[in-house]
Symmetry: C2
Subunit: 242 residues, 2 copies
DNA sequence: CGGCGGCCTTGATTTCGGTCAAGGCCCCGC
DNA sequence: GCGGGGCCTTGACCGAAATCAAGGCCGCCG
């Protein structure tokens, strides 16, 4: 006979009660008891844009849930060329299990709110709770799908298709509840032009030119450098190559 | 192909006794009893280059281990542009868990030998044996790392760096025992020029030109169109951008 | 207020890789 | 042997995006 905990939120830590990660994120795989245990050793904190999240003393030994904001995962060549290899939105899980050192850097692209846990604690819970590992496995499979989608964009799309694809992806991630059939939508760009360039394998100038072209063609409005309104999702999709 | 039941040598099925997947592959996560169960419903078969592995009637409901050869994973845009998003070598596991339909195509790049299992059986075993899921999780994490490495190559490297990186990757995968410090090595290219182009986001002509350049610069020898000898691994590495 | 620095846009020019075209090599079947 | 097709190479030319360069906008701080 299962106890119906959720009716009175009985047993759910205050910290977690309104947390998105408990629903769509990895914490959804935990029972109230595990949640209490984890909440005791977790800490919530905010990070400003530009701050490194992996590799600095504070977080090298921890995993995190992204509660809000956008984290960029980057890789660099020795001569400084950089490529963004992933973006993490709430409620994604941050950190590479089973590896001490990762060749990937993580950096806050916007102001980011994180809920962090000691690495050891998560790995212990994973051993005890296959459900948790299962949840992480599924997120990893999704990230792999996304990475492969972007490989197509990087390898085979033109600059204008890349920028259109990027806007489409952001629109869908910033507002996950967005009606797929919606005609228009408006949002803040979580990335600078330089970041967008690093994401798409382009230069800043090319990104800027393609954005102006989308504007002059009335596919988007650029309300301010960081705020965009998509006038016509259909036309944007058609320009994304797909 | 008949799977025999004579369970000698500590209960390991004949089919599996000399199988690489039992050591480095996912079958290493199974105990002899599970191995016997799986062997009963598994079938070994060979596939010729060019044959689709996912999406055809035979394999849509199955997972496979790659026992030898190379499988390419591709994605296409609606207008026919194609990108290879992954290569699978022995003893990789083939198939996307937890999803009926994948937007990815798999095709034999060389003659490939597979050991296939019904999808349902694997998913049942995963539920019962967290070790199996764990092993698949780890392979997926590796594939994600590889995908992200290739994103850097696709987004930020020049044509000549791309071709050098490709040769390096193949050399390391074809001969996993290769001493990392080895000066030279020789191998068959598992891909045609067209495949290499689809992998690197280039055209056939550019791949061909870059290969000749590596040859005229004495970094490699092209013994025949499909067989290459790397004369100097160090120089090849330096040309790969890294 | 005025100057400075970060971020972005726009224009002029260059270059890398794509496109178009021709031909070579090799296997295979007749 | 001969012809055809698949695969690869090479050359000439072209164009998309990079590079180089200049200037605009805006918030911040002295």
């Amino acid at each position: 006979m299962t106890v119906r905990q959720d009716i009175h939120s009985s047993g759910i830590p205050v910290l977690c009660q309104s947390c998105e990660a408990r629903h769509r994120g990895v914490c959804g795989a935990l029972d109230p008891e595990q949640l209490v245990g984890l909440a005791k050793i977790s800490s919530k904190h905010n990070v400003e844009p530009g701050v490194e999240l992996i590799g600095d003393a504070e977080t090298v030994d921890s995993y995190s849930n992204v509660l809000s904001g956008v984290v960029k995962l980057t890789k660099s060549l020795s001569d400084g060329r950089q490529q963004i290899v992933g973006l993490q939105f709430a409620p994604d899980f941050l950190g590479r299990p089973f590896k001490v050192e990762s060749a990937i850097n993580a950096e806050a692209a916007t102001t980011v709110s994180l809920c962090s846990f000691p690495k050891a604690a998560i790995e212990r819970m994973m051993k005890e709770s296959p459900q948790l590992e299962h949840r992480l496995f599924k997120q990893t499979l999704n990230e792999l799908d996304e990475a492969r989608d972007w490989m197509v964009t990087l390898g085979r799309k033109s600059a204008s298709e890349k920028v259109a694809s990027f806007l489409l992806m952001i629109a869908r991630n910033i507002d996950p509840a967005l009606d797929p059939a919606a005609q228009s939508t408006t949002f803040d760009l979580p990335l600078t032009r330089a970041d967008i360039a690093d994401f798409l394998g382009l230069t800043i100038e090319t990104v800027s030119r393609q954005l102006t072209r989308l504007r002059t063609d009335s596919v988007i409005r650029i309300d301010s450098t960081r705020h965009v309104t998509v006038e016509n999702m259909g036309r944007l999709e058609r320009r994304s190559g797909a």
